[in-house]
Point group: C2
Chain length 593, copies 2
């Protein structure tokens, strides 16, 4: 809110506009209407909607004739972990801006875990010159308690929250968990009070929370939740006052079920938005981004205006960013998507800060500007450091003088991220407990990769299905050590050592030979290639893994969550096998005879 003289002068026709868009069909998300109008832009802001006065047409004024196409506000994703794209922020932004995305909210927690605040600030800096704006919620669960169970590159301790919440990109707290709230945790109280003090939001994270606990959680003023996987859960959370962020991404596809709160229950849509949470380069290539969600919503019968509100004004209000964005209205930032079809949400042009950034060529939305690849420093590029090269024997579990072992087995699948607590009887050969390849019980290990202690956690896993070789990757929530799954120690060691040599990546080794690999040299999480290249590489790797028996449709995603100590029931970290419900490390071997 402020009196901007240039804007007033252009609105009144006293001075020329920078850009005038004529003959558009405005999707006015404030009035909820679509109607024909012109738009004038000055200094990157909307100066006027409606007939543009003669005096605003200047010699240097750029004119775009929309020829009846639809003008929507730039799309906003209110909750996405951009690291899950495996792209740099610049490459991610280039991949989604052609889909109409102009702003995203990402807590950059993965990069921060690896590279600390210097890495975080490097990404925020990079984002300033990328086409899509980045807003930042502060992750609040990277504390000392978890450090007892896993080694990370850095911690985000409570004393940092106030420094970070004052960053210009900061919108508030990310993913406030409910167990500490219900336990009246002092740290949580302090963080909420900080968000309140600075007028920021506190975004929620409350999978399957219902009933009394939901009331207690919502009563603290938590603003949103993105974890509903079905209509009933979303309706309960909406009724409790949360804003519902309906998720549709690579890791979880909730839209088709959750959107029934609109199509069947006919609730007020103003507190409902669409978000991605996790989305990889393949998903972007195959389906798109927020445009995909608008298409899905319209296909289920939601009106186009309401669907577009759910990726524009609704997320902007949820994030308290509606004062500047989320709508095409006088005074707001001129982030505009020109759509050739409303129903198909087909993006033809994208204007950001009043500049034409994307335009159609030969039926394709094409970037009009080149964005040089980011120049990273060592803090992001040199993050995978093994204390020593790994040998096969390091990754396997010994059982001296035994012949049979009963072990815990982490049971995973492609259906969801839960890891079942299974058991198996495995043979002991030459004092080592061996995988049961026909029975799909494979070795799993997690190798500390920050050069701090050389820890190796070991156990067994079912559900991967590999019949030969080993896959290793440096992406593993929330510690990002190197996880490896394999049929034998030699291939596992080769895969881990290759990941380290690449300074991060995903590597499949068979018979001591690297068969397929994706380098992820930025924090061990991100590629330096562009979106389509990473999508192609990933598609190839998945195909090769499938040929070798892999049962997981997205092995990179599933294996990156088997390390997370918050998803029931078992997980693996560099400190060992983790029992989520008991919240402690346990011995993978139950007994041996």
């Amino acid at each position: 809110m402020s009196l901007k003289k240039n804007l007033i002068r252009t609105a009144l026709g006293k001075e020329p506009a920078d850009l005038i868009i004529k003959n558009g069909n405005l999707v006015n998300v404030h009035s909820g209407e679509i109607y024909k109008t012109d738009i004038a832009v000055r200094d990157g802001l909307i100066a006027s909607i409606g007939p543009v006065p003669e005096g605003a047409f200047g010699q240097k004024t750029q004119i775009i004739d929309a020829e009846g196409r639809y003008l929507a506000p730039g799309f906003i994703d209110a909750h996405i972990h951009i690291e899950s794209s495996m792209l740099t922020y610049t490459a991610f932004a280039k991949a989604v801006v052609v889909r109409g995305t102009t702003a995203v909210v990402s807590d950059l927690m993965e990069v921060t875990i690896v590279s600390g605040v210097p890495g975080l600030k490097a990404l925020l800096k990079e984002a300033e010159s990328a086409p899509v704006k980045l807003f930042y919620p502060i992750p609040s669960f990277m504390g000392e308690e978890e450090a007892a169970y896993q080694t990370t590159g850095s911690l985000l301790l409570p004393n940092l929250i106030e420094e970070l919440i004052l960053l210009p990109q900061a919108i508030g707290l990310a993913e406030v968990l409910y167990p500490p709230i219900l336990a009246e945790d002092e740290n949580s109280a302090r963080n909420l009070a900080l968000a309140e003090k600075y007028g920021k939001t506190a975004e929620g994270h409350a999978p399957a929370l219902l009933g009394e606990a939901l009331n207690a959680y919502a009563g603290t003023g938590i603003r949103s939740d993105h974890e509903s996987t079905n209509k009933e859960e979303a309706l309960a959370k909406l009724r409790a006052g949360l804003r519902i962020l309906i998720r549709e991404g690579s890791a979880s596809s909730d839209l088709q079920d959750v959107i029934r709160i609109l199509t069947e229950e006919n609730v007020d849509t103003r507190y409902i938005s669409f978000i991605s949470d996790d989305i990889d380069a393949l998903h972007i290539q195959d389906f798109g981004h927020q445009d995909h969600k608008v298409r899905l919503a319209v296909q289920t019968g939601v009106s186009p205006v309401k669907a577009i509100q759910m990726v524009t004004i609704n997320p902007a209000e949820s994030l308290k960013l509606d004062g500047t964005r989320g709508s095409i209205l006088p005074g707001k930032v001129a982030d505009i998507v020109i759509l050739s079809s409303l129903k198909d949400c087909r993006v033809e042009k994208v204007i950001i800060d009043g500049q034409l950034i994307v335009d159609e060529k030969d039926g394709q939305a094409v970037l009009q500007k080149s964005y040089p690849p980011p120049l990273y420093e060592d803090v992001l590029l040199n993050t995978v450091r093994l204390v020593a090269s790994v040998r096969g024997a390091d990754l396997l579990i010994e059982a001296p003088e035994k012949s049979l072992a009963k072990v815990h087995v982490i049971g995973i699948s492609g259906a969801n991220l839960l890891a079942d607590a299974l058991e198996a009887d495995l043979p002991v050969v030459d004092d080592v407990i061996r995988a049961d390849i026909p029975g799909d019980v494979l070795h799993i290990a997690c190798v500390e990769r920050y050069g701090k202690n050389g820890n190796i956690g070991k156990s067994f896993v079912r559900g991967v299905g590999l019949k030969a070789g080993a896959i290793a990757l440096s992406v593993g929530h929330d510690h990002h050590n190197i996880t490896v799954v394999g049929t034998n120690g030699a291939d596992m060691a080769a895969a881990v050592n290759r990941v380290a040599a690449l300074n991060g990546g995903i590597v499949y080794v068979r018979d001591n030979t690297v068969v397929s690999e994706i380098a992820l040299p930025v924090a061990g999480l991100l590629s330096l290639k562009n979106g389509d290249q990473v999508a192609d590489d990933l598609r190839r790797l998945i195909a090769i893994l499938k040929e070798n028996g892999c049962l997981l449709p997205s092995p990179n995603v599933t294996l990156s969550f088997v390390t997370l100590i918050f998803i029931p029931f078992l997980a693996i970290t560099d400190k060992g096998l983790f029992d989520v419900l008991k919240f402690r490390i346990i011995d993978p071997v139950i007994s041996a005879v």
Copy 2:
């Protein structure tokens, strides 16, 4: 937003609630639904909605069985000048709380004009112990420029804005005018920047503003406007991004026309609220307050949920108060209205801060608590001071040695607040220009009442219709000097002197005798009686005036606006006849022969 331990404990059933409402039909303004539920309240806040856990039922827990009645959030009026009720804040609050009102926004400008910041703070203090919460937007147009044309008790100069915006009751700037915005005024820029700095709103005031000027005005981030008198104007403002406050009060009834933006244009309702602007005790007695607007809306076909949103969550969001009020949701203030009929918006019980304040008795909503009358100080009680008693001749215009005068005449009516610029030829008798009683051209004068200079402005008026006597009143926007209209000087002087003797009021004098009067001893604006008494007094006064020829249905309202130098085309102040378009004092006499 904060972690409140008691609320969490009651939500989880670990500690008892203060109040439980069972078997209600909740109007959930967040989800846009109505459904059966229970509610638990603790420490004046909603602890839970939905089934209340056993542990929340304590020995001291008050239980209200709603027996299927509707539970709506307390009604909010986002824009009202409470002084127009002619009631003290306490009496006003008592009159409207039984109608379901639990919070109002009032800039208290009239009291501040008379009694300055001490008077303003006395009213804010009074409001703290009244049943209805008062929020305060800072009036921004009581500056030095206007002081050239009228005498007031005090000014609100720019250096006060920052002090006032930090008051706990402050919600932002009130009624930001558009001419200074369009003129890029530095004061306006500074005020908007202050509101932005403190995260407050800037409420608008833009009668009949359309087109290019509307774009320029809306582009500054002005949040709302309450001046639309027809559908087209409201639609244009909504499309420009303003929040529409539909007015229905004693001074202007816009709802029936403006609501056609919903019933005919089907716009999104989330940015639309109902407000009163000016409302007198008669209107409250005859129609009600926000309950009346809900009834009217439902009668035109608006769904009850949407109608209730327009007096609860929508105004709360418009005022940025939705973090604490406007909805019945966990963590929000427990301001609850229990309705026996949704369609008729019939209020049976009102709960404020979790306390039962209003309950039904013999079919009437009755206050359950006594509120002692406020104790005011001299700054509010001793505000009408004439430099000297007024004589008849002081109020009339001389034209020595002339016989006929052509004069300007202020043309008023009960239809709206516009004052036409008329002319008339009047006889001059004994060197004084005389009223034309059969032609309804009467004397009007405005007597300075702050004891500062004894100014008397004089002119003529058409439209009042009085056939005998004179009416004087100490309510006159925005200076509140004593305005008198009459057929002769003697009665006019008697009426003015009686108003002064009462320390403010409305007085009708005929044949030198006070026929009817209403004392308004608080700032010369407010009665010390209760709402029904003032309504009865006013009804009697209006009837007597009508018997004496008065054509104005609400003479108290119409005559209190004939003094306002912002309403075209003519006005009267203590400094003389004011030409609104030329923005200067003019001679009431055009010529005399």
